[in-house]
């Protein structure tokens, strides 16, 4: 079989998710009164960004065969922290952003330590640490509030021409090469940057390889001489960092901080749904964060369409459930080929 054919076959599921998303999203734009405009794209991209970060974060423990119930809590913690720190001079804001990212990574590192050194399953370890992070978030923001720097909100949540305008680039007029991309949402660019500058290198690092190996068969990974503990610590730290980026953006987007417990839980569950729709196996070993981004996109585009078409909004959770169920059913098809029924239960 040719390499291209092999690649297509191995990624058939992800491709079909992308096609599904593209079709539904085109439908949305076609029906939208201001369809195919930069403004609609910006709005959609901003809505997707934080959940996409959480879904990427969630992908990593899922690839190792676990679940991270603290991604929503880490997001909320960083959100509340950012609402205090992202004010003042440019230097102060830059340091604030750095502090937020470090906090996210640190929360992930703590998760990793509990899992590795406490020998506790990720799902229960992160249930506990997640409650702690929410507690810290409540301590930082007992009631919703705070006021972020207005410029950073404007720069990050609009199109690229607003971004360059705010930071003062091209003050003597936009260059010709920039004009075609002037309307691209800044948050979409940021999403692509995170995917290419964090995920792609991770996927090709030795640690990234080890993460897939652990989910595929932890025993064989050990027998192959991989450093499993280091891989797990790094993986959880990275997951924390990604969740932290999600929290940072949420604070910038809402210009305030809010230790909203139901929202944290909802984001965590949606991140798991996104990962599954994106084609990552809950058993671990196969899938990718790129898939999870498209999983998020599919989940979100459903709610976009509810706003456009005259469907009772109360039906939305049911539709999201049906999409999730069909994604899982596709994944379960391989079980039909199992010939030793004991393997079904392993």
């Amino acid at each position: 079989m040719s390499d291209l054919g092999l690649r297509l076959r191995q990624n058939a599921y992800l491709l079909s998710v992308i096609v599904l998303f593209a079709l539904v999203y085109l439908l949305y734009h076609a029906a939208h009164p201001k369809g195919f405009s930069s403004a609609v794209l910006v709005q959609n991209s901003n809505e997707v960004f934080s959940l996409a970060m959480l879904a990427m974060a969630q992908t990593i423990p899922v690839l190792m065969g676990g679940l991270d119930l603290s991604v929503g809590a880490v997001m909320t913690l960083v959100d509340c922290l950012a609402s205090h720190l992202l004010v003042g001079t440019t230097t102060q804001i830059a340091l604030g952003v750095l502090a937020c990212l470090v906090t996210g990574a640190l929360a992930g590192f703590v998760n990793g330590c509990v899992v590795v050194y406490g020998r506790i399953q990720p799902i229960i370890a992160t249930l506990a640490t997640g409650a702690i992070y929410i507690g810290l978030a409540l301590f930082l923001r007992p009631t919703p509030g705070g006021k972020l720097d207005e410029d950073i909100n404007w720069a990050m949540t609009n199109a690229l021409d607003d971004f360059v305008g705010t930071v003062g680039l091209f003050s003597d007029g936009l260059p010709a090469w920039f004009r075609p991309i002037a309307g691209v949402p800044t948050s979409l660019v940021l999403l692509v940057l995170v995917a290419t500058l964090i995920w792609v290198p991770f996927r090709r690092s030795v640690t990234g390889r080890a993460v897939y190996a652990i989910g595929s068969s932890e025993q064989a990974a050990y027998m192959s001489g991989l450093d499993i503990n280091r891989a797990k610590l790094t993986a959880f730290t990275l997951a924390g960092l990604l969740a932290g980026i999600g929290g940072l953006f949420l604070a910038i987007q809402t210009s305030s901080g809010n230790a909203d417990i139901p929202q944290a839980g909802g984001y965590t569950l949606s991140s798991i749904a996104s990962v599954v729709i994106g084609g990552t196996s809950l058993l671990g070993g196969s899938g990718s964060a790129i898939g999870s981004i498209f999983g998020t996109a599919v989940l979100k585009v459903i709610s976009f369409n509810f706003r456009i078409f005259d469907i009772a909004p109360l039906l939305q959770p049911m539709f999201e459930g049906l999409v999730l169920l069909s994604a899982i059913s596709l994944g379960a098809l391989r079980m039909l080929r199992v010939k030793n029924q004991l393997e079904l239960f392993r």
Partner: protein, 513 residues
């Protein structure tokens, strides 16, 4: 002599079992050294010790004269010791190229260099004649024989100075076996030491420069190629050991057939197996580990899908698609119990028992329909059944409400057996039921099996212990590569003949004992 690795006085215990007992062993550069022994002779533990998977309790190892201590498989690899394990160490979800370079991938700017990794995989695969394997394929999508070759390529990629092959050819096609032979010849010429573990006598005759025989964890003898005849080697493997006490066998009579299997095949593990077990007969399944014995029992119990062939109980053809079907097979219409097939599985801790549940709950778990009235359990009948079972098998329990994992291994196994006897099966399948069990309980199990046979059950019994097959079975069928190669009974049922048939040697003149 150019000694590469030397073991002195190495011992390893697992609980009460001496897996390695004061072993002295050496292997030389540029030589293929075969290690022989029965199941449980200590070969695997020897390999695992050398490969850094287990740490010996006593003794020392030296590598080219320098003392060596291996805490992990990685440490062994660093010392140039590379093992191709019997259980594949491949990661099914990763690609062939990923797997081959898993431990030390080629890197560029700190990241894995996918092109270089792919070239490396192509070179290594070409070196063993596997150009047909695309390095981008997922290992999961490869057939077993190809996976084994990938495993070999992965090992060669680590530039071994000592290469260990543990049954590495068992899943290979004959063309691949030739390629492996050629590769071993090249390694030998390059001065690499090779340790070769195989049950295939003709392979060993073709390959090994030096042979070592192990028995009961002890190193018995090492000799050069051609210094011992196959018969003598088999004798060394058996030795003379104290055997357990077995109940007397009744005289052989022509019993009506209870279980008839004809032409059973499944995947590439069972090939046209035909066998019958009479009422009151105990038939053993013998042969080396992994020749299809377990699959045969699982197929009869409905665990395997798409099994071809025919299974009859009491003359009636049965369609068995699940363990629940198997338990009902041959049962009288309307009855809640009796008849049917029971399987005492291989691993009592995962397949036999629900470890955290109580002894009583475990005992009745296969008989719930018979012990319930409508949707509810009948507490009275349940109580009686549990008490009877505990008394009948003399299970040593404190309270029957204790969790079953609080029992000793032997008593746990009795619970598994009692649970199945409670279903009053017509056919009883046992998968190595005495493994890891003390001698006293073993004897009780042998007596129980004979008692059940005398009451009319048909028993099919797989054991890795040849003494046990000889002592407790009326007849023994030997499997090799998914086929029954010989059935032995009466005076022909000797350890000598079992081992010869297990190795699929053509029967020569009887050995001189």
């Amino acid at each position: 002599m150019d000694q590469f690795l030397v073991l002195t006085g190495v011992s390893k215990r697992y609980g009460g079992v001496r897996a390695l007992d004061n072993v002295d062993f050496a292997c030389n550069r540029g030589e293929v050294h075969a290690v022989l022994g029965e199941n449980g002779a200590g070969k695997s533990t020897l390999i695992k010790t050398i490969a850094g998977v287990v740490q010996p309790d006593a003794g020392t190892m030296t590598l080219q004269g320098r003392p060596l201590s291996l805490r992990t498989p990685q440490a062994a690899n660093d010392a140039g010791i590379v093992c191709i394990f019997q259980e594949l160490s491949l990661l099914p979800d990763l690609s062939v190229a990923d797997n081959i370079s898993i431990a030390r991938p080629p890197r560029r700017f700190g990241l894995i260099d996918l092109r270089a990794q792919r070239r490396r995989a192509e070179e290594l695969l070409a070196g063993i004649g596997c150009e047909d394997v695309n390095p981008m394929m997922r290992v999961r999508d490869l057939p077993l024989s190809r996976r084994q070759m990938v495993e070999i390529a992965k090992a060669l990629g680590k530039n071994p100075r000592l290469l260990i092959l543990d049954e590495a050819t068992s899943a290979l096609t004959s063309a691949d076996v030739e390629r492996v032979y050629a590769m071993l010849a090249r390694l030998k010429a390059a001065g690499i030491a090779v340790l070769y573990i195989s049950h295939r006598m003709h392979e060993i005759e073709a390959l090994a420069d030096r042979l070592s025989v192990f028995r009961n964890g002890r190193h018995i003898e090492t000799f050069g190629r051609g210094e011992r005849s196959p018969d003598q080697i088999v004798q060394l493997m058996i030795g003379r050991e104290i055997s357990a006490q077995f109940p007397p066998k009744p005289p052989r009579t022509a019993a009506p057939k209870m279980l008839e299997i004809s032409d059973l095949s499944w995947e590439d593990r069972l090939h046209g197996v035909s066998l019958s077990v009479g009422r009151g007969e105990i038939v053993g399944l013998g042969g080396l580990d992994g020749q299809g014995q377990k699959e045969l029992l699982l197929a009869l119990f409905g665990v395997l899908k798409r099994v071809s062939g025919e299974i009859r109980i009491d003359g009636q053809r049965q369609a068995i698609g699940s363990p629940a079907d198997a338990m009902r097979a041959g049962r009288q219409n309307g009855a809640h119990t009796g008849g049917g097939i029971a399987l005492v599985p291989e691993d009592r801790k995962t397949e036999g028992l629900m470890l955290p549940m109580s002894i009583a709950e475990n005992l009745v778990i296969a008989s719930l329909a018979a012990l319930s009235s409508g949707p509810f359990m009948n507490r009275g009948r349940e109580r009686v059944a549990v008490t009877d079972a505990i008394a009948r098998l003399r299970i040593k329990v404190g309270r029957d409400s204790d969790a079953v994992h609080t029992l000793s291994g032997g008593n746990q196994q009795k619970v598994v057996i009692a649970k199945w006897l409670m279903t009053h099966p017509a056919v009883i399948l046992l998968n190595d039921p005495t493994r890891g069990i003390d001698v006293g309980t073993k004897q009780e199990i042998y007596r129980l099996l004979r008692e059940l046979a005398d009451q009319g059950a048909a028993i099919l019994f797989y054991s890795t212990d040849y003494d046990e097959l000889i002592g407790s079975c009326d007849r023994v069928a030997i499997l090799y590569d998914g086929r029954i190669v010989r059935e032995l009974e009466g005076s022909a049922l000797t350890e000598q003949s079992i081992i010869a048939a297990s190795l699929n040697l053509s029967q020569t003149e009887p050995a001189h004992v």
